[in-house]
Amino acid sequence: MTRHGEPPSEQPSATAEEQALIPGSGGGGAAMRLIVPLQGIVQGHGGGGLVLGSLLPCVLFYAFQMFLKRSRSPPLNPPADGPENRGVVRSSSRRRLPARDAAVSARAALIAKSGDSAYAVGEKRCLEDPYHPFDNPDGVMQLGLAENRLSLDLIDDWLSKNWKDTMLHQRQGGALNIKGLATYQPFDGSLEFKTQAIAGLMGQVMQGSVSFDPSCIVLTSGATPAIEILSFCLADTGNAFLVPSPYHPGYDRNIRWRAGIELIPVPCRSTDNFNISVASLERAYTQAKNRSVKVCGILFSNPSNPVGNLLRTETLLDIIDFATEKNIHVIADETFAGSIHGNEEFVSMAEVLNTDGVDRTRVHIVYSLSKVFSIPGFRVGIVYSFNECVLAAASRLSRFSSISAPIQHLLISMLTDVKFIADYLKMNRERLRIMYALLVSSLMELGVQCVKSTGGFYCWMDMSKFMKSYSEKGEFELWKVMLDSAKIHITSGTTCHCIEPGWFRLCFTTLTRNDVPLLMERLKGVIHRQ
């Protein structure tokens, strides 16, 4: 299937402190740096009195950047070392063109190229011109990232009450003692953290239907490395995973870049409500075999990203049976397990693995704290597996993607506050439900249908009737119009490897209720134009 350039990598949040356009990889003059001050943008929606407080610094900032750019042009002669030069000459090395440039690896070249795709350009636009209800109401609404801002206040509230017990302070009181946090820790997480915090938390997330064994846990600095680590363990370069599509575009980066594993999309169709069918898996497996490509596993997400549907127990068992028959592995990406907002009950692979006769050692599950707790910045991912060899290899590999001790320390406090966690999960679920319902009904009024989603942060919308042509090209043009004219950045179905053109993924958890009317207005503009 053709794609419009490389799929974009998961881009930085629009609330980042500042973003800079990286100077291009060729030689040449320094690119303009645009610093987007943070304060005004992040200072909570609905806070008043921010305009003057943040616009003025914004203006000054831009002026300062212009000044710096002018004074940063390379001098004719290299500067002498000296304190008087320090402030000005902190610039790049591109003062002279190199005689010869030592090459980078093929991997690096591929990654560098991916920055040129149309979608990467779209991501950049969001960073340069991010929407803010007060400071930048005409900015680009970034609805392509999975961030949950709906319940940040709950976490913040807990922290402001409890921070003294967290981080570097001894929980038992007494003097500050850094040794326990500063020194080398097990790279895959301390046993205390795994037992007290993670196993307990995951049990609560699953509402008691599963009890998690701490010795089956390996911790990593996020779900991204967790999936990569599993990929390294389960397949060699050149092997492949079957991935039901549409799927999360991030997989293309996480699994192909360094592990070099091919992803074979297994198309799911709207007529089936995008459910996985074993017949499709079988077909894809055979086709791969005919191409002499070795399939080593199946990777799927549940709740599904981007569609948001849940897999039934029978489907999970069917997948395990299929994998057993082919003697391959299963990676279940359950990073949205804590974000169920619909009425269906979520059945985790972890629960299914307790069924008699099921081979537990070929299924590996990934969780992440980012999605549950709106705290991606803390970097905590979880590999959960009953396979001793995978655990052994994964815990050794976690040294390259390890979580920090202070974060573990903090999270032990937070995650063992059982009442807080229970309240949080309940309230977060309610807020997700309300926001999702609002989006879906608003979209319906515009004539945009969404597939019923039970978990996750996305609406999976059908905008095919607004395309000029029922094709990838038509979809891309519609995507571009939405970005350029309506200044809405959403993820196109093609980026998710959807076989049917016209589907789009929209993240609803970065919005507040007040943003929705504006969003609908902008969408309406696009729809009527088409």
């Binding site: 990286i22 030592a102 500063a182 991606p376």
Partner: protein, 439 residues
């Protein structure tokens, strides 16, 4: 951890997962296991194994603790929603600008302001381990090789080779010139690589050196950079011990060499740094890549998605590392204490009849036990190592695990324990030497 079941019966695992390139079966790591099972404690286990194989800096914790006590806002989570939000949601692989700025400041301070660092060239990773692996992924294809002067940090075998599929060709150095790296040594290694039909992609130096505990002199650094330019390959300078040089003016950073050359032809130079050794904060997992190559910076940044530093850690350390007074005082005091420890252990070893390579940096000594070997072979060295581990109850690192071409050298760490423990260790070693000489 050994796999009890056949790893291939339930779905084959990758070659990577089942290989032992992780190297954790080597003596370097086996000693750690012995320590874990029987760790020394002055009160509860005075005859336990003393860990002298871990290069960790515990001599200056009190300075950090005092700073954090006086600056509680650094350990808090910020006041109010805005600050929390910005940290919670922040997952940008650029890293917090204030933190990168602080790292640049810190690195400059370490080098006595003799080099400048641009925060825009700093890429953050979860530790130097990740930084080294990431650079290898970027600079070399599977099957290529890196040249590394010996003796070198045993972890490189794993960190640079395991997932990357890249090979290491050692650049053999020996005690005849204090293990200094010479153009002849480099050329010999390059020739060896060519004979094996490996494409050489770069040289990796550690400066100050682990395990030698010495800084690389300026002329040698110039030679190494010239060599890299001649062969059109990269140069990675791992400078994680740069803040642990006993006299700050004895350290010359590759950054200074590059600057002195007017940044000419420096796109091949990349510096690795971390807070694990100088600040004694390995648990925080903070490493950096500093590259003079734009493309490498951009690519490394994207690839750092696999190994990000938590935003709260960045925020906390940003304020500490920007405090020029604090870091100035810290660096000076830390250096002084390390120097004192070093002098103490060298003296103690001398009294026991053990010579060390003359060192001026790091958290360890490179001592020569060759006269003690029953036979001057690798096996002889390992036998002695085992003896020292199991009978003297000291875990030290044998030179063979560092790929040293001369037998009988051992690395012994002195900064990961208190003075009393070091005393005990030296006493045990002294007794051992006396007994050995008698028999």
């Amino acid at each position: 951890m050994q796999c009890a079941t056949n790893p291939n019966s339930n779905g084959k695992l990758s070659d990577l997962a089942t290989s032992n390139t992780h190297g954790e079966d080597s003596p370097y790591f086996a000693g750690w296991k012995a320590y874990d099972e029987d760790p020394y404690d002055a009160a509860t286990n005075p005859s336990g194994v003393i860990q002298m194989g871990l290069a960790e800096n515990q001599v200056s914790f009190d300075l950090l603790e005092r700073y954090l006590e006086q600056h509680p806002e650094a350990t808090g989570w910020g006041c109010g929603i805005s600050s929390f939000r910005e940290n919670a949601l922040f997952q940008d692989y650029h890293g917090l600008r204030t933190f990168r700025q602080a790292m640049a400041t810190f690195m400059e301070k370490i080098r006595g302001e003799r080099a400048q660092f641009d925060p825009e060239r700093i890429v953050l990773t979860a530790g130097a381990t990740a930084a080294n692996e990431l650079l290898t992924f970027i600079l070399a294809n599977p099957g290529d090789c890196l040249l590394i002067p010996t003796p070198y940090y045993p972890g490189f075998d794993r960190d640079l080779r395991w997932r990357t599929g890249v090979n290491i060709i050692p650049v053999h150095c020996d005690s005849s010139n204090g293990f200094e790296i010479t153009p002849q040594n480099l050329e010999a290694a390059f020739a060896e690589a060519e004979a094996k039909e490996f494409r050489v992609r770069g040289v990796v130096i550690t400066n100050p050196s682990n395990p030698l505990g010495t800084t690389i002199r300026r002329p040698a650094l110039e030679d190494i950079l010239d060599f890299a330019a001649r062969k059109n390959i990269h140069l990675i300078s791992d400078e994680i011990y740069s803040g642990s040089v006993f006299s700050s003016d004895e350290f010359v950073s590759m950054a200074e060499i590059v600057q002195a050359r007017g940044y000419k032809d420096c796109e091949r130079v990349h510096i690795v740094y971390s807070l694990s050794k100088d600040l004694g904060l390995p648990g925080f997992r903070v490493g950096t890549i500093y590259s003079y190559n734009d493309r490498v910076v951009t690519t490394a940044r994207k690839m750092s998605s696999f190994t990000l530093v938590s935003s709260q850690t960045q925020k906390m350390l940003a304020s500490m590392l920007s405090d020029r007074e604090f870091i100035g005082n810290y660096l000076e005091t830390n250096r002084k204490r390390l120097k004192e420890r070093h002098e103490y252990i060298v003296e103690g070893l001398k009294n026991a009849g053990i010579e060390c390579l003359q060192g001026n940096a790091g958290l360890f000594c490179w001592m020569n036990l060759a006269p003690m070997l029953n036979e001057s072979t690798r096996e002889g060295e390992l036998r002695l190592w085992k003896l020292i581990l199991h009978e003297v109850k000291l875990n030290i690192s044998p030179g063979s695990s560092c790929h040293c071409s001369e037998v009988g050298w051992f690395r012994v760490c002195f900064a990961n324990m208190n003075q009393q423990t070091l005393e005990v260790a030296l006493r045990r070693l002294g007794n051992f030497m006396v007994n050995r000489r008698r028999s």
